[in-house]
Structure formats: structure tokens, C-alpha cells
Symmetry: C2
Subunit: 235 residues, 2 copies
DNA sequence: CTCGGTTGCGTATGGCGTACGCAAGTAGCG
DNA sequence: CGCTACTTGCGTACGCCATACGCAACCGAG
């Protein structure tokens, strides 16, 4: 009857770290992994490089982490930290606070997007955020299923925006200009009329602060759409 | 003045395939790569396995594809195919058609989501979809920048939903039930009250057709939000 | 002091992407 | 026909990766 529970999850929810070792510990390894992935990207995170950072041998890590997948699970659990307290001034402000804080997490740790893509969250770190997000809708009349779908809609938007924005932030300053120039070079009005018009209108030559404005723009659309439902249900 | 253009892009936009070889050709390699990634996932796509499928030696592929990254670029260009014709019955129906077709692409080739994550599209295959999506908004009074932001908002939602849905579709039938059971097992009302309530309400024990319904639900929210803006601008 | 358990790590294996250079085939041209 | 220039296929080799296994050093309890 009881589903057998994977070791990784049991550790994640229960066992605290044993700081016994002569220097290595799960917490230290996970923290170093997060720092490495933040700085150089998840592709640069290898067990060997991580061990080097920690001043130990590669195989020593396996005493605290059963394999690389488990390390990544620990990292995605720890990196987001605690979700923010939400304002009590209504679901919209609460949901917006949640979305902006989550965006901050993804901008700080873009690799989370890759690691958690298509994997339903089961660690306490991720689920705490889901719980907090659901609580933003406490003052609505929506069903639990509706609240969950609404939250997923916001989540999809935040993840999608972060996937683009976090990369742009770390790119060279000229890359965005290059992108606009390449679009302009390849896209012809005959084959792609709408795109050519958008390109000619300067849509692909973004400037400072445009990332922020574009996030706010999309989030406003999404929240407006939710508002239509919430208000109709109450009216 | 002229930005130097990466070889991969030049090939993508210009040079047709030279079918000269004794069996190998760029098109055949790309098609086999797509088939392999569709069947076994992108992680199972190695140059060696691909060569085996094609009955050639690993190094032979490099005559037609300069490295694995370029192969992936060719694959993401080719896999989506042509975007659908959009109905002329208004922006909402057009955008919905576009979104559903794109979702179909991601469900058929989930690896595209991983490969294109955080990389702005520059190949004709992807850009044709962006162009078609923008054209869905031709009958609105929005600016080009607004149309682009609107399209990105829809795109984020579609990608986010597909990232979860495409995986669930290929999962074992019992996995979804397992997920609900694991949530119920770990989540306590004291620590995560909203999540516990949602779990108790059966939100995490999905049934047949729920994926479709959930996509429609979220898409309706997003389109409703866009409608608020389009209508206000016109009124 | 002994002993069971824990921790660190050296060695080794099999997979990966791919640089390099040779050989076999093909096309152009006399 | 033969000679040459080029293209295509691929065998070998290298360095990086995750990680299985077993030994040695250490630690706390008796």
C-alpha cells in the first residue's frame, strides 16, 4: 500500500545533514554546487570541477550525494530559499508579489529552469513556493483546482520570461543589438511580412529597462485574464 | 559594418543540402536525429548512436554537420514544420489556432523546449512561427512592440504547459497517481496549508482529458487578459 | 586497546564530442 | 584513356565525463 519512497526524497524531507566529516558535508557540497552553477552555468558543473573547488577528490563527493542527479535535486531544493510573505491587500497584489519574487529566484539561478523543466516538483523547497502561491488566492471564490490552474498559468509566464531574460542579462551588451541586426538581415517582407514590420519598427533593438517593462506588461495581461474570471465568479 | 554571420546561420538560410554523398546527407542526418530524439529523448542523442542508426561511422557525420550544436540547430529549424494557416475571424481565434498548433509541435518534439530554452530564435523554421503569430494580431490596433509582447506572453504559456504535459503524456499511467500520493504523504496542513487543501481536494490525481482541459483553461485566461487590452484600446 | 562504522580517495571503466590525417571515390579536363 | 583536384567516409586518438569498487585512515564506544 505504501509507495516505496525514493531515497533522495526521504533525505530531502527528513534527514538533516551530518556535519561529521573532516571538511566535506552535504550542505557544503550543495552550496558550492549552487555557487558554481550560478557563476559558470549548469553545463560547467561537473563532479570533478566541484571537487576541485572544495579541495577534495572527485570520488569523495559520493559519500554525501549518491549521484549527480541527486546533487541537482538538492540544489534545486535549496537555491530558491523561502517564499516571500504576501501582502493581505487582495489576490492580485499577492500574486504579483509572488511572481516578482519567483522571477528574482530564476534570474539569480537560471539553471533551476533547466533542471526542473518537465519535472513535477516534490522537494520542500519548490513546494513551499507552490503553497505560498496558492495562498495568494485565499480571498477568491475559486475552487482548489481553479486556483492551481491559475497559479500554473502565472508560473508558466514567469518561467518563460525568465528563460529569456536571465540569459539576456548575462549576455554581452552588444548581443541584443546583434540579434536585431541579424533579424533585419535575414527576414524579408515577402516571406515574413509581420516579422519584417516588427523588426523595422525597432522591436528587436531593446534598451535599458526594457526587460522589466516587458515582464510587467505580460504579467499585467495574465493577471487581467485571471481578474476576468475571479470577478465574473463573484459578480 | 556588416556583422560577420555564423556559418550555421548562413547554411540555415541559404545553402540547400548537397545530396552528393554515397548515402549520408545533411537532410538524412537531421531527419534521423529528430526521429531519435522523438523516440528516446534528447539525452539519448549522441553522435555515435546517430551514426549507428544511419549505418555509418561516427566521424562521417562531421562532413555534413560541423558539430553537435549545429546539428541541434538544424533539428530545431526543421522539426516544427510550417505554421498553420490562421482563420480570418478575428485575432482571438487566430491566436488560439496558433497556440494549439504550436502546442502540437512541442508535444510531438518535446526536446525542442530544452534545446531552444533561453536562446532567441534565428532560424527560418522558428521565425516563420513568430511571423505567423504576429500576423494573428493584424486586425488589432496594437503597436508592433505590443503585438510582440502579447505573442511572447502566449508563447510562454504554451511552452510552460508543454513542458509539463509532454512529459506526463510519455510517463507511465501510474506516475500521476504516484505524484498525488507522494504529495499527500509529505505535505502537512501545518507547514503547507494551501497545498495540503488542494491535495485533499484531489487536485493532484488527474484523469483522462485533464491535460487538454487545463491547457484550454490557462489559454482562456491569457486570451482574456489580452482581450482586456485590445478592447480598451479600441473602445 | 580493540573494533565496527564512517569518511576520503586512487584506480579503472565505459561513454562522450571531436581533431587529425589517410584512403577511396568522383568530376573535370587534357 | 589518364592525370589531377576535390569530396566523402572513417580509423585512431585525446581529453573530459560520471561513477563502481576497494583500500586506508580515522573516529567513537566498549
Amino acid at each position: 500500500m505504501t509507495t516505496e519512497i525514493p531515497r533522495t526524497l526521504r533525505v530531502l524531507w527528513g534527514e538533516p545533514d551530518r556535519p561529521g566529516g573532516r571538511g566535506l558535508s552535504r550542505d557544503r557540497i550543495v552550496a558550492a554546487g549552487i555557487a558554481l552553477a550560478d557563476a559558470d552555468g549548469i553545463a560547467a558543473l561537473s563532479m570533478a570541477r566541484l571537487a576541485e573547488r572544495l579541495g577534495s577528490a572527485p570520488m569523495s563527493l559520493y559519500r554525501h550525494v549518491s549521484n549527480k542527479d541527486e546533487l541537482l535535486a538538492f540544489m534545486t531544493d535549496a537555491a530558491p530559499g523561502s517564499p516571500p510573505e504576501l501582502p493581505a491587500s487582495g489576490w492580485r497584489a499577492a500574486l504579483e508579489t509572488w511572481a516578482r519574487a519567483l522571477r528574482g529566484v530564476y534570474y539569480a539561478h537560471p539553471w533551476i529552469l533547466q533542471v526542473t523543466a518537465g519535472r513535477p516538483p516534490l522537494d520542500p523547497g519548490q513546494l513551499a513556493w507552490v503553497d505560498r502561491g496558492l495562498s495568494a488566492l485565499d480571498d477568491t471564490a475559486l475552487s482548489w483546482a481553479e486556483r492551481f490552474e491559475v497559479l500554473m498559468t502565472v508560473l508558466h509566464f514567469v518561467r518563460g520570461e525568465a528563460q529569456i531574460g536571465a540569459v539576456l542579462l548575462r549576455a554581452e551588451p552588444g548581443d541584443q543589438a546583434d540579434y536585431g541586426r541579424l533579424i533585419a538581415h535575414f527576414v524579408t517582407p515577402e516571406r515574413m511580412p509581420a516579422l519584417a514590420a516588427a523588426s523595422a519598427a525597432g522591436v528587436f533593438t531593446a534598451g535599458d529597462g526594457d526587460l522589466e517593462r516587458s515582464f510587467t506588461f505580460g504579467l499585467t495581461r495574465v493577471l487581467d485574464g485571471i481578474d476576468v474570471m475571479v470577478t465574473r465568479g463573484e459578480g
